[in-house]
């Protein structure tokens, strides 16, 4: 995948902003992840925010919950769009993995980060 690949994080409240800030702080990689909050949006406005964040580029869209307003907005606008893959349950491990695997083809990078993100959940 080219380095045009973008990660768009769509979440409730300030979660996306915080996750992107943390991922950039840890990795030192900037201008790849774009946060989008659903604050104050109906579905149409949230779709617009997501579209502006994607900006026509191939993207992995990370969503916080596996259902709800953020996921509905993404899929309503981008379902079937070949250059957009959606991964739910975003966490910091997932985003860090994404930043260092952007050379993979889009479907593969999406599967890869989903696997890494779920693998980061452990009970000790």
């Amino acid at each position: 995948m080219s380095n045009d690949l973008r990660g768009v994080v769509v979440a409730h409240g300030r979660i996306a902003e915080a996750l992107v800030s943390a991922a950039e702080g840890i990795s030192g990689v900037a201008d790849v992840l774009v946060p989008v909050s659903n604050d104050g949006c109906d579905r149409d406005r949230l779709e617009e925010r997501i579209a502006e964040a994607i900006d026509g580029r191939p993207s992995v869209v990370f969503v916080d919950l596996p259902s709800g307003s953020c996921l509905v907005a993404v899929l309503h606008r981008f379902r079937g769009e070949l250059n957009v893959k959606v991964v739910t349950g975003v966490n910091l491990a997932m985003l860090l993995d994404f930043l260092f695997h952007r050379e993979l083809p889009l479907p593969e990078v999406a599967e890869h980060v989903a696997s890494r993100g779920s693998g980061a959940i452990r009970v000790t």
Partner: protein, 157 residues
């Protein structure tokens, strides 16, 4: 127990509805009245994902909702009826029959709407529709989650 919550929320089924209201109210079924979603299988699948398996979900357009409202009101289970707009709720609740209260959840900014609360924006026409609806019986209050203060229609003018 019939329908224990009538709510207008432009995000339709989402966390505030399922978790914030559904759990404390013990909702066993949700009626989503939305012309677009009622005609879209894949959108219905999407909204089903937001609802626990123990909760039944019914998708309806306005005509079906008006016809079946008495049936849902007589249901032995506890239910919630949702619409995405003031206009659809007004169309469903003609004459306010058997409806004690209508809850305004998230109605967000669009051109022509004015902010009444951080989560409620209404055009003057929408506000007037709510006044007319309230005069038919149901008390109309804005309250995004159960722990928030309920705000009456007069305070949204």
């Amino acid at each position: 127990m019939s329908i224990v919550l009538y709510r207008i929320d432009d995000r339709l089924i989402h966390g505030q509805v399922v978790i914030g209201w559904g759990r404390p109210l013990g909702a066993e079924f949700i009626v989503l009245v939305d012309p677009e979603v009622s005609g879209s299988e894949w959108e219905q699948d999407l909204y089903r994902m937001a609802v626990p398996r123990s909760v039944d979900i019914i998708f309806a357009d306005v005509e079906e909702a008006r016809r079946r409202l008495p049936e849902w009101q007589a249901d032995r289970r506890r239910g919630m009826l949702l619409t995405g707009t003031v206009a659809v709720m007004a169309a469903v609740c003609q004459n306010g029959t058997g409806i004690p209260k209508i809850n305004l959840g998230g109605i967000h900014h669009r051109p022509g709407r004015r902010q009444r609360l951080p989560y409620v924006f209404l055009t003057d026409d929408e506000y007037q529709t709510l006044i007319d609806l309230q005069q038919q019986g149901p008390k109309i209050v804005a309250q995004d989650v159960p722990t928030a203060k309920a705000v009456g229609l007069d305070d949204l003018a």
